[in-house]
Symmetry: C2
């Protein structure tokens, strides 16, 4: 039997986890398949690979990353830490619990930086189409090298879809929005809140995008921030100048009427209306179609496409757990491909999915969701040699984080957690998040002069005055 060929589509955190999973087996002496990884961006890191562009990238492809300047992790890093590559190992010193984007990119890059794996990734290469041949039980993957414009096709035994599902915005219609004279963009295209200073900002949506872009806008001096929800308000203790209203009914020029009859004038609208599962390179019979939830249908153990178990998805769930969940998934998929773990029959897989789906449908809120996802990750790790970690403690970290956000949405990022892997307690960042206007890695890892920090804390820093009066709690 000739050596298996595996295509990994996407080299973000999930695709990198798959590369690492195979690499780790190979370093332990296993024979691994031939692996080809396609990444449309020029570098790896997926979402964490910031692009100042919005809309389309330098090649005319849809921009992948939804990141913005001054995006700091919105959850504690202790909840996403790789069980086999700790923050201590990477940074060689304690860092804070909520690092900026650049620090997290550095961490995921650092795990594989010296592995040689990067040379195996075909960057600037977009997958155009995947064909499945039932007789051969293999896949023809057609790609375009975006730099040269050349197209080519190769055959693979299995494909791993690791393109993520927070890249294609969901942009619903709102009556009259075409008459709104201010800027209208989706959160996906938002690149920084500096230009929202003095603006009356409307965010439509009630999830992480609305929460964080709202707070960013506040941080950068928006005149007002209004967040419009469909089903329920987030209910944080918003500072003065921030409010939640029910869903937009319609726009009339710069005026917005809400479903409760309230009206407001706005200067800018940001649609925080979520993302689509979209796989334009896949025929319908291989393409996941799902709302964003923690147990998408038709994925055995969250990763094996039921209709065609030669197709694997990584990171297709809504995510409490992230990097370490992608690892658990990647290790499990690797073991299926290596034949270390047998793939159950279609009937057995269906029965397994029914059991989990039944439980999923009974979940009653965030705490239930986190525990469900922890159990899901535990189930995967149990089946592999990925290092087990204290998932119950991570659940507690998630719940504490939720609590901190309810206590103070503006300062929760200043809190510190303890690593379940190393026991290290996170350091306190030298500058409170709300006053930190520089998100570079250099600044993050620097030790500012005492006088600079004193200026920030004494209020001689330009952002301090507003903070002193407005910060609640």
């Amino acid at each position: 039997m000739s050596r298996q060929r595996i295509a990994i589509i996407g080299a973000g955190p999930s695709g990198m986890a798959a590369l690492r999973a195979f690499d780790s087996a190979q370093r332990a002496g296993a024979e691994i398949p031939e692996i080809v990884t396609y990444e449309k961006q020029d570098d790896w890191g997926g979402q964490w690979n910031f692009d100042w562009r919005s809309g389309t990238d330098r090649y005319g492809e849809s921009v992948h990353s939804s990141m913005y300047r001054n995006l700091w992790s919105n959850g504690p890093k202790e909840a996403l830490e790789f069980a086999e590559y700790t923050f201590d190992e990477h940074f060689a010193r304690p860092i804070s619990s909520y690092p900026p984007r650049a620090a997290l990119w550095d961490y995921i890059d650092g795990r594989v930086r010296k592995s040689g794996l990067k040379d195996e990734v075909q960057f600037s290469t977009a997958v155009r189409w995947v064909d499945y041949d039932r007789d051969q039980d293999n896949f023809t993957v057609t790609v375009e090298n975006l730099r040269s414009g050349t197209t080519s096709s190769s055959e693979f035994d299995r494909i791993i879809v690791a393109t993520g599902h927070f890249s294609f915005p969901n942009v619903p219609e709102f009556e009259g929005i075409e008459t709104f004279p201010g800027s209208v963009q989706h959160a996906h295209d938002f690149r920084g809140a500096e230009n929202l200073a003095d603006k009356r900002v409307l965010l439509i949506g009630a999830s992480y995008s609305a929460e964080d872009i709202g707070v960013q806008a506040y941080k950068m001096g928006a005149r007002s921030v209004t967040i419009s929800y469909r089903t329920g308000a987030m209910g944080y203790d918003w500072p003065d100048g921030m409010e939640e209203l029910p869903l937009v009914d319609h726009f009339e020029g710069g005026t917005v009427r809400f479903s409760d009859g309230d009206t407001r004038e706005f200067d800018a609208v940001i649609l925080c209306t979520g993302y689509l599962h979209k796989y334009p390179f896949l025929p319908a019979e291989l393409a996941l179609r799902s709302p964003n939830n923690i147990y998408p249908a038709d994925l055995y153990r969250g990763v094996v496409w039921q209709e065609n178990p030669g197709v694997f998805y990584l990171g297709a769930q809504d995510q409490w757990f992230t990097f370490n969940m992608f690892d658990a998934q990647a290790w499990y998929v690797r073991d299926l491909i290596l034949g270390r773990t047998p793939l159950p029959s279609a009937e057995q897989r269906a029965a397994h999915m029914r059991t989990w789906r039944d439980r999923f449908q009974e979940l009653g809120g965030d705490a239930d969701d986190v525990r469900f996802q922890a159990d899901y990750v535990r189930d995967l790790i149990d089946a592999t040699d990925y290092p087990m970690f204290d998932l119950d403690e991570v659940v507690r970290i998630f719940l504490a984080w939720k609590g901190e956000k309810y206590e103070n949405i503006l300062t929760y990022r200043d809190k510190s957690y303890r690593s379940v892997l190393t026991g290290t307690v996170a350091s306190t960042h030298h500058t409170p998040w709300l006053r930190e206007l520089d998100d570079s890695l250099e600044r993050y890892l620097s030790t500012p002069a005492k006088s600079e920090l004193e200026a920030i804390l004494d209020g001689t820093d330009p952002s301090a005055e507003r903070l002193a009066t407005d910060t609640p709690g």
Copy 2:
């Protein structure tokens, strides 16, 4: 021999011209092939089908249209009039020479509205991939119905690529642009200048986008408009508050340094840096790769793909002539497909292209370009039954238009031209373009009360004060 099958990809002005060309032959008694038209938008009209969204559309596909609110034709309609469907026939009365977007959409829609052709277009359907089978000499076209998510493949004898080339922005890198705190967008994503009021606006580019968005920004009250060119300034007699500077050297936050050493502060940047020929659904051997010019290489008579003459392109040229040129191309391609016009051998085609390319390479400026394109259109019409029209007079209209723009870039749209088809002299729009803030078809075709117009012209209209002092000439 079974009936030929033709795929038209894209139902903008070019694809609609192809539909009309075949329809016209059929109405005259000819047998025509089976035609399937795929259009990713929900309606036809291509660029002229405005979408308030930018980036991606409701299905997560790249937005096609680059149009914005208050876009009025930037060239006289007398230069684009269909030779077989005049403005008089459509509007049944004279209209002005520079209609707003909605009026032009109505015109191209009107020609085919009652034809039944619309029912044959598969809307909301994106072409994912085209495969050519050399043995069968046919094409397999794989598409996704964006509403249902279903994918399917069909075989065709010939394909007509009519997707345009002003939809995928060219977004080059500029040093430090990621530090610019204001908004940064490509002209493709620009949807209206209202939110540029009081802003210091930088436009990078020196072609139609920069010219028109610059004037739009001025019209809507930008504090300043700076246009940065690479090779040469446009050189219009800009009003106070507008200027041209050489190319951006780099950004440092909100400050931009230009290659001549000048520096300026800006609030918003719009990249008017052009578009890419991009055909992500085509294998490299079928995909046109060209800069934007009036004689792209490897297209016999501007439409037949030399390497595979079963592939036709419509509207792939840079465009002085537009709608009527697309018609001439569509009629010619139709006649090739119907066998009415023989396709010369590859050698003959190559020789023909060399002749035209030699002439193209000698062209010395705009006047040369217009005459070249007029000759090109004449050559196509000569080969078909499309009605010939006075191309020399259209050349004169183009050159007069250029002159009007140099005379006054703010008022050229108030001029009137005479139709070369009907002799009708365009009417004068009831409101000078610079004071017209409503681009709807209703407003355009309305007869405003005298008092309203007097208010606008007397200066009691809010936009009048600035105009009275700033309008040059």
